[in-house]
């Protein structure tokens, strides 16, 4: 059994049931209905499910993740110290722009495992950079003056003061 997914550009993706099950929205569309209506709407459809907010390139990337996790359970909950498998980290990469799109799409499609992975990917890219570097990376216009930045840094870096109380 397979389901057709249609991206924003109209490209069609034929995916099998275990892969589609990873995508919460598709799962609800295709199989959630039989809970309410008594029959499944899209079990044998030729229409497909349109995902209007996801572009083809991002959808194909997301389907790679779903394909990898079709048999095993991804990490969905845990604290900020949780460690993802190496495959996941290689999959998400370091391209900030792409991760942001994946994050937005994972939120829209309701894929909690991928959502956390994308957050972790962004945090990894941001880690170890100074404010100027983050502004350059993200194209944010810095609206603090240098003086303000120094003051805020002094005020909120309490742990730094605690480590080096000079």
């Amino acid at each position: 059994m397979s389901i057709t997914l249609i991206s924003k550009e109209g490209a069609q993706f034929l995916v099998s049931k275990p892969v589609a099950d990873r995508i919460g929205v598709v799962r609800d569309c295709a199989y959630g209905a039989d809970f309410w209506l008594g029959y499944a709407v899209a079990t044998d459809d030729s229409m497909g499910i349109t995902l209007a907010n996801v572009t083809s390139s991002i959808l194909s990337k997301i389907l790679v993740w779903c394909e990898h996790y079709k048999d095993m359970e991804p990490l969905v909950d845990g604290d900020s110290n949780m460690e993802f498998p190496e495959w996941d980290m290689a999959y998400i990469g370091h391209d900030m722009n792409q991760i942001l799109f994946v994050l937005e799409a994972a939120d829209y499609l309701h894929i909690p495992g991928l959502l956390l992975l994308a957050c972790k990917g962004i945090a990894d890219v941001l880690d170890g950079r100074n404010p100027r570097g983050i502004c350059d990376l993200l194209g944010i216009v810095m609206d603090f003056s240098h003086r303000q930045e120094v003051d805020m840094d002094k005020e909120n870096g309490y742990w730094r003061w605690f480590l080096h109380p000079t």
Partner: protein
Amino acid sequence: MKLNDLPPELLQLIIAFLSPASTLAVALTSRVLFEITIEHLWEAPRMLGLVTVGDRADPRLFRGREGRCGWVGRKVRRAVGLERGEEKQRVPLVVLRARRFEFYASFVRSLSLDETQGDTLSLEVVNKPLQLVGLSSLPIALPRLHELSVHASRASFLKSACSLPWSLCPSLSRIKISVQQAPRVQDNEDPWPSALKDTLAHLPRLDELELIRHHWRGGEDALFDLLSTRFGATLRNLTVLGLDFDMRVLEQPLPALQELNLMLDTDAHVPAVLSMHALRKLHLHPITRMDGSQAVLAALDAPELGKVGLAVGFLSALDPLPDEIDSASPDPLHALLSLLARRWPHLVSFFLHISGTHHPAFQSEAAASWPLSRLRPLLTLSQLKEIHLVTPAQLPLGDADVASLAEAWPEVRVLHLRGGVVERAAGWRALSVLAQLPNLQELALPIILRTPSSPLALISASGVDTLSMGQGDVAFPDHSSSGLRALFPKLKTLQFDTRPGNSHADEIQRAGRLMRLRIALGSEPEKNRGERREMKVVNPWERSEGRIGARESAEVGWPR
């Protein structure tokens, strides 16, 4: 697409993955991100940082030109009611700082008052800003506080921390108190034992209590009276370390207790029946004798108990005395294990850790030995998932013994049998049997590999990723690696014990052989797997973390 376009809840999720330093860097980029990030920054501050928050920043932040005021400064000035610039001089700087303290304190979710970390003064310092903003006490300034932990060793600090009206925090759901006897305190600063009772009575609830002192000298019953009547419904975790603790006070009902840590040596103070129906974890710390532990295990009525740990100070506690070996006196180790197996046949996790060898030292260098016949009661615990036996005694477990172990524990996930190695040790056959266990992940066993590879060519899907060979040996390191790889395809870490302090030439050669095995395993060409393997050398004696709290057993160290 930009980061700022994301909804705030997604931004908060991202920020939760950042380190404090990176969080601050993100906060300093723009006002939008600052507003989202600052809550996370002040979730669990150090008390000292919270109290002195205004002092370290540039005072010009408040007094300078309008353009220099930060976002917080503006918020603070609005809270004070300052609108125009000329009114600034009217409001003293301390009030502004106090407002700022109030602002940051409203984000705090978890607070730790640790005397050893320099929080001693903070409770005196904190009252000044609180008075200035019109709050009567610290808990009112912490509306989001979720978890409170107090670590104290002096009575005055404990008293000032506990007597605050914590019941005014609406969302406080976890209080941890830890009281540790300091090496040198004046008599009037000693929190034990009656002062402790009066102090704890102020708290609205109590979830975890840790009491560490050298010797108990009476007074426990009043304290446990209070624990049972006031905090019986919430107290989940109790740790009592110290010699001569009167265990009869535990007869009073503690219905919510789930984890219990006890130090005891003799059975002098053990009651006949101990009823704890919610207990799940039990840790005992005997030092030189086992009769106290025996009595507790016999008296305990705990149907839910799944995890038992014993951290024994000296090996001699589990060994029959040398002049009694021939007589019919019971073997303490065998008696303990059979009692355990009889009382809780559904035990999930068992932990036995021995710190030192003999006390007092024997005249002869008679090395203790734990053959399978002494461990046999453990084989009836068929649901064990974690087993840790860390002992300086020798573990003469041959291939047949290991096979019977593997048969007895089909669901085992962590198998740690760390002991001295003798001529009769496990080899290839034992490894190939263990490789058939489906759930096994961590394996530590003294192994001697005398032949280059396994005599049985079995296809294995073993999930073992950590293998510790203990004080084992390998005869043909370069050839054995492929055999190990075939048995344990997911192996990532190979450890061995280098026997610290032993500098014999054969020891150095043995370490060299094991190093070569490790290198041969690491440099294996990767054909089927894309994952990178890391081979680490870790000394397991340093890593075996025992829950020894006693000064006596902590001083012992490992046998040299």
